[in-house]
Subunit: 160 residues, 8 copies
């Protein structure tokens, strides 16, 4: 079974996609990642969403820059939670951030920060963890590591 | 035969749609206008685009605010020229302007100014006029009227 | 049991909070709504988050304008999914939108559009629906109503 | 006969102009490309527009950064469709994007994304295709290639 | 003889034009004010600039909103100083402010603040005063009045 | 005794923190600098604020990018003056600048410019100098040096 | 003795000035408030700063919109802490916010949010409280009231 | 006699100052260039303005980034025309552009584009040319060269 379905609007979003998939792997969450464009391959987006739903996907992640219609288009095709990650292809990512977050009432997209593939993965994990005690424990562990890592970064400071 | 197909993403875009249809009427261009949302009724958008294409539509106009995915989604479904009109539902329309204009390479949308339904109609007319001498004459007449109207507006100034 | 915990940073966010709670009621989701400020009553935010977690809250919604630290602060206190709603207290809500969405890696907030309390509620419902078939059915029904409502809005157009 | 007339406001827009001309060549559309500035050589712009119209140009493309008055000035001199391409000479291209898109009612410019010479060419092609079945076929073929290229980009992903 | 030539891009800029003309009158500077659009009546703009130059105009003022090409187009037609006043027809006037100020090297426009017709008039007066001692005295008197008016505004404060 | 407590939201703000600490050293002001995140280590922020207050800290400096909640969170925990320094992790620092400055009424943060660690240090010094004649003298000396350095920079100009 | 000196750049900033003075009164802090413009009455600004310094002013507050040079100009004349309050005369106050916060290194201004006269007063109080135990107590009391007021606002919610 | 007085707010504006002085040299206009900061050396700014006025300066040019108060401060000290050049020290120069252009009514600054020292010089020349036939001829010659240079840039295009 696959729990998270990641779709990138273009292969140019690869780096952000990678941050996303690496974080899911770290949390032991099964995912699939692919490329499909809301504008170039709309039928592909549709078939992937349907295919992923059949595979048991609980959360979708759409990664896109510029007009960044992909996360919203995924959201129009499913009632599963959809996370949108704007990338900074132009204007520092402001165009994509506004496109993804300013969805019309009725069809929400859960927007995370510009290029923040890691947070998309963590949000997906938190959503899955609502009904999965094991994942919840892993997120708590991750947070603790994060806490420790931030705390220990003070040492870097002291060395300089 | 219908020459221009106007789709509004929401009935709240009615005023902008009206400026668009009134201008087309003035130029004697046959059009159809409807409401369909890229996010709320994606299948409807698809069926309308197909239906309009069958009716002979040469140019599409998509009117939308906020995430404003509609014009781009129409463009993904047809190779006819698609004109996008951003509306100012939020942030003065900057969100919709960026969403509509910043399309990825390969699938263009012809963006006009915020709320500018009139310019969308005129651009559609100009596109049709490329192969329609009669419409071309009407546009030239319209431009002359516009010129005269601007010139005569000086009188308003003189009266005050 | 309470499923969604809504915290508004100020009573001035009441209208957005209401759109949120009305939508949850419509979907039959149990919620609690209160006011607590990340800056004025940080201890209260902490105690509410702990109290809500004990009551079984699966998703948090933080509503805030301006600096809008509330959703991020909630996210720092829990590993449950946190939805952030920016309100337009100033600058059209751009300040709050950026504050809420641009979270550092490790602590995500699921941002929805400016003032969009309805989408926050629907996103919360979608998250709960990942493990609740009944809510999933209600969301699908809601989407169908939305679709019909959008489709029937064409009639409004025809009347004018 | 020439079908598309491209005018760049400055030789510094050369890269964007090239993306434009290469795409037109790929689609077998005859074009001419030159440099003329709305501010530095306004008479030249006027004579080029008249010359291009005589040569049968159906669509104009104006490429400009900063104040980017060129596309609007072309539009004031012809009733042929005018496509405007903002370039990112400053402020990420936001200045040029606003200048080109926010035309006053009566004189439209069809704006495409920042630096997006390719989309300008494709939009020009779509406009010509309204009355040219052959070009329409070429655009459909181009779209199919685009679709296949996007689909095959998944392989790049798999290799990494 | 006329010293300042004011051109508004549209009669909708009337209020800003009025602030401009009233200030010039106060300073005893002869001016002419008219309406002509860079996009709707480009030939008119050209003929007015030539006519005004013959009448002895030393400074031009162009008032425009949206794309606001007018001041730049005037500047392309004359080597007299051109002052540009952006108006807030949309986006708070940011579109017009960027269009007017971001001129390409070689053809400057002296931009003043959004809707600030008064400052355009004062700047024109300062430019004329470079070779007109009488106007210089009037500007100094105006500044003194301004100083006194600002100083006496404290009394308004004390009354409340 | 420690007079200024500097907290950076992340070790990535090190450069800005350094400009801050170096300036304090130059003015002979005792400080402590550490890393603690409002989102990753909220409890740590709280304990540091309490610890610093016990050590006699008179002014806090919070340095953060993106959502930049840190300065506001410090301000919610103390009634000592809190200075916030936005860093340019994204969008040129506009996100952090808005987050830090747009605090709700009741809990102020003293915001300085993007990446401007030096100004944060000087502002802290000015605050301490309100009741410390010695520091006041040092600031005046610093200002004089600054004045001389600016004045002597003309020589650099002359050499080129 | 006067502890806080408030200078407004224009009488149009009266409302923001009032929020400032009322808050200072509530905290029992002696202040003086006046109008002086960095651009219209620069000498007056200078004489007021000197006069206020003689009267024992510990903190300055400058309130200004648009170019908003006033707080920075005050800061150039004194080494006392200067708080800047941007007002929303245009562009939602973004122009003034950037002008006031983006000071060059060496001369800091403590910027608070747009129109936020209350926070300017509280920040001034916090600065004074660094060496005034009595004011510190009053601020703590104020914060407690704020806390209680925020907590009791929940009742407003319950009534609706 | 000196005709143009250039003041840079910081030696970091050297490149923009150079474009300015080189253009003035080309036009045979006598100028002086120096560094003085509105915030770091306000008295120096004042003495330079007075000194330059005595030397016969007809136009001032102020070059500054960030808060960019310099041009406005110069304008407050003289009734000669003041040209302001924003530089892109941060945020692409948007902060400085707004600071310089959004002057309060009564004290205008003639703003040119970001980093556009050349246009500042040309605008100064145009202002001087109002009463100097010789300079007017030189500007016309410059414009002709500019025209020819733009026209000949087409050849560059043809070669590639």
């Amino acid at each position: 079974m696959v729990e998270v379905g990641i779709i990138m609007g273009s292969i140019s979003n690869k780096e952000t996609g990678k941050k996303c998939s690496e974080t899911l792997e770290k949390l032991g969450i099964k995912y699939k990642i692919t490329v499909a464009s809301a504008h170039r391959t709309p039928e592909k987006v549709k078939s992937i969403v349907k295919e992923y739903e059949k595979k048991g996907v609980k959360v979708f992640i759409g990664i896109a820059g510029l007009s960044a219609a992909l996360p919203g288009v995924i959201a129009s095709l499913t009632t599963k939670p959809v996370i949108g990650v704007p990338t900074d292809a132009a204007l520092g990512g402001l165009d994509a951030l506004l496109s993804i977050s300013q969805m019309p009432s009725g069809v929400p997209v859960a927007t995370v920060g510009v290029n923040n593939g890691k947070n998309a993965a963590l949000l997906a994990a938190e959503i899955i963890a609502v009904s999965d005690r094991e994942i919840e424990e892993k997120i708590k562990k991750y947070r603790n590591e994060l806490r420790r890592s931030t705390e220990s970064s003070v040492k870097t400071l002291e060395k300089t």
